[in-house]
Symmetry: C2
Subunit: 202 residues, 2 copies
């Protein structure tokens, strides 16, 4: 007999919905559901509407596959962004992270994942074809592989680099090294090795 | 410039909704919003509907003020539950906790909070009047104060005990002591003191 049976069915149903969210356990789901009960009717409706609206209106940019409210994304439609450089990332959140650095003025391409045999994600599950189409149209001089510096991100970058070899395009990878503000003593061996390899004259 | 500005407005709005939930930080809110985008349209709609339905249909039981889908709650409408004992709790989740122990066969009364001057919660903000009405109607022999064993729960129990003094009713408090399965060395001084005070012959 679960604790849930002592709650009304509609509350149980809401707890179950919250419990399906990633990183939300049964106790948290309960707390979130009770929070919703304590909202005003308007606020609860606004929350529900935000879910449906986001799901309905957010689509992929037809060019770079980043998230957009419809049509070209703001970066692809901006004439200020350099079309000759494409930064390839796994996730829309990576676009946000790189934009925050204000260091990049080119365009993006979002793969929506990385190749991961363990999770049954193959190249065909990613937005690779639209990338090849963009590059094959010409005008692209450099493709920066900005997938995560882990095994799967690395393998995906290598796979794409091989696919891009037939095109006259420079393929680069983000630099590895110790994070700014980090401490040497907490850096792992692999990172330190890469930081030494990539050392630059000052 | 926040990272959010690189996401579509509808996604931003959903992230903000999640960020308002208790215990959900901005990173978690982002993760939850992206999770919703990856749901099927039907699942997103079901989530939204669960919010609106719970908010619309869940009400307070007219007798014990516990949550119900409408009308008397299952416990108040069950002829098997002893009407002569009322267990007073602060929150509907406490009802679920006590029911799980299967030790209690009486009725409940849910206060929906405790007296807390710090949080501007006074006796009038709690469901105290309906409790006094229930007791004044007669037939109640014992009222068990099952508010939390902290300062506010204790103060609330004492306050209610004083209010109930004019009625011919026994007022009791849950026993204090070391938790079952707990370790003496981790028990705080106050708990150990109460456990010694309340010791029983075996």
């Amino acid at each position: 007999m679960s604790a849930m049976e002592y709650f009304p069915a509609a509350l149980e149903a809401l707890v179950e919905q919250f419990a399906r969210l990633p990183g939300v356990g049964s106790k948290s789901a309960q707390r979130l559901a009770f929070h919703v009960l304590n909202l005003s009717a308007e606020d609860a409706q606004a929350f529900a509407d935000a879910i449906v609206t986001a799901k309905k209106t957010v689509t992929f940019c037809p060019v770079c596959r980043n998230l957009t409210d419809g049509g070209l994304c703001p970066i692809c439609s901006s004439p200020k962004r350099d079309e000759s450089v494409i930064c390839v990332v796994a996730d829309p959140r990576d676009v946000a992270a790189i934009e925050r650095s204000r260091e990049f003025s080119g365009r993006y391409h979002v793969l929506h994942g990385v190749i991961s045999p363990m999770n049954h994600v193959g190249p065909d599950d990613l937005e690779i074809k639209p990338l090849l189409e963009r590059v094959s149209k010409g005008g692209v001089e450099e493709v920066i592989m900005a997938t995560n510096p882990d095994t799967e991100g690395e393998a995906t970058a290598m796979y794409l680099a091989r696919l891009l070899r037939p095109f006259a395009v420079k393929v680069t990878r983000l630099a590895y090294g110790i994070p700014v503000g980090g401490h040497l003593e907490f850096a792992d061996d692999a990172t330190l090795m890469r930081a030494l390899e990539g050392r630059r004259e000052i």
